[in-house]
Amino acid sequence: MSASIEKGISVLKEVIDAPIASYFSSCVHCGLCAEACLFYTESGDPKYTPIHKLEPLRRVYKQEYTLLGRFAKILGLSKPVTDEELEEWKPLVYDSCTLCGRCSLVCPVGNDIVYMVRRLREGMAISGHAPEGLAGASQRAVEIGSPMGVKLPAVKAQMKHVQADTGIEIPLDVVGAEYMVLMSSMEIINFPEYLAAIARIMKQAGKTWTLCSEAFEATNSGIQIGVSDIARVLVQRIVDGAEKLKVKTVISPECGHAYTALRWEGPNLIGRPYSFEVLHILEVLDGFRNAGLLKTSGFEEAKLTFHDPCQLVRRGGVLEEPRRLLNLVAKDYVETGDPGKMNWCCGGGGGVSAIEEAEELRLTAFKVKKVQLEATGAKTLVTACANCRIVLEEGLEHYKMDIPVVGLTETIAAHLTAKE
């Protein structure tokens, strides 16, 4: 047994806590999780059944923490988990799981399968079985500050660009600002319109805000690859930046997992509560709307629908805010099938879009979204996650569907009253 597999098995033993033990012992093998997984429903291959993806972890649980399993291990009647098996399982644990959480939601005995996949990824990563793409992203996130290799000069270039575009100064490192705005690398690289929208909205709302030169990146590849130590470092960086600038609220951008990582998991990762509040940008905008600080005029002409980002809606609980905001600017709005917490994933979450070898499967899984979107007859698709946005655009392009995809924040900003 190699050192890396020993470490991996050791980690798997460690991550099996009381919830995981109870999940494995209470699974009734009903198969409902399969019907909830887009990789299973769209491929028809039973190997993509969510609970099956956890087989290496289940075996470790059985061999180490059940009486019969331990006897069987002592008597040599059960085979240990090997390097080869973990490598074989890599596409199941990473390529075909977006951590979307639909399986957890439908499980009749309440097993949080996503939690289990995340824990299995810990062992996979430690034993050297994480996909190269995710490993590289995590390394860049720690060393450079961005999973996509974005450095501060690139952020400053975008600030300058947005200033030219909007005529509004973009604040950086302002101590005592009310809001600290985070971005995802995707927004820095691909979608400058997000920062432009923030600038316009904050100006209209009359709020003080700032970017932070030491913590501009919101994403957390430690969560995706399954290494808590990396996740902790990345959360701590944001906490340090926010506390240095003494801001009241940190705004998580249009990125799904960044929100759950920072808001719901961050305090546990760093072992203490924050001294500031964390809100998703849609929560902030909805708060502005409620306070009468978001004044819009006119409506979108096209029929709109909304793609619920899994981490934001199902896992994050931001369900009604996007709909209330859309109601400000959409006259002709239609829901997709299974809207809100039962939405179908775009297929690129949980790090899947960073894994090149997963592309073909991802496009196969997109068929569920394709059918749903066709049924709506929508002419524009709105979402609130930069990763979803690109994955959706790619899927729509692949299936020759002419539906533009836009971010909700920029859609709202486009309708701000002229006074702004």
Binding site: M148, I189, T219, E393
Partner: protein
């Protein structure tokens, strides 16, 4: 006519007709076209230059340019290659040239912004920082267009 800042630039663009906005957008995009190897973008730019283009031709050019733009995104979590990203923004500029008419939209301004992003990406890729003279080049291009 002399243009020396973005206020004058934006004001001058706002007075252009729809057709001329597309034509100027094409010139802005052409100025950064060397940063892209995608022939589809040149097709969109050439289409935008034509005063006699039909709505159907424009729609087809838009579809093609959109495909080039979507294909050239840097995917989430992948390391950014700034030269490739420059090419992506050239594609976005091409999309702007042939985008469908929409109230409040100005394809010339949109193309100018995307072209500046493309040039910025190129300067990051070459390690020359982020400063460049694309805005000044656009002022000159617009002034020449208006004076012609």
């Amino acid at each position: 006519m002399n243009i020396s800042n973005d206020s004058e630039f934006k004001a001058a663009l706002s007075f252009l007709s729809g057709t001329n906005r597309r034509r100027v957008a094409a010139h802005f995009s052409e100025n950064v076209l060397s940063l892209s190897k995608d022939a589809r973008i040149k097709g969109a730019i050439d289409a935008a230059k034509r005063a006699d283009i039909t709505p159907a031709e424009l729609a087809a050019a838009y579809q093609t340019a959109r495909a080039a733009s979507v294909e050239s995104y840097t995917r989430c979590g992948r390391e950014c290659n700034w030269n490739d990203q420059a090419s992506h923004f050239v594609a976005e500029a091409g999309v702007a040239c042939v985008q469908p008419d929409k109230p409040g939209a100005n394809p010339a301004w949109d193309a100018a912004m995307q072209a500046r992003m493309a040039r910025t990406c190129e300067t990051i890729a070459t390690g020359r920082g982020t400063d460049n003279a694309e805005a000044a080049a656009q002022y000159r291009i617009l002034a020449e267009f208006l004076n012609s």
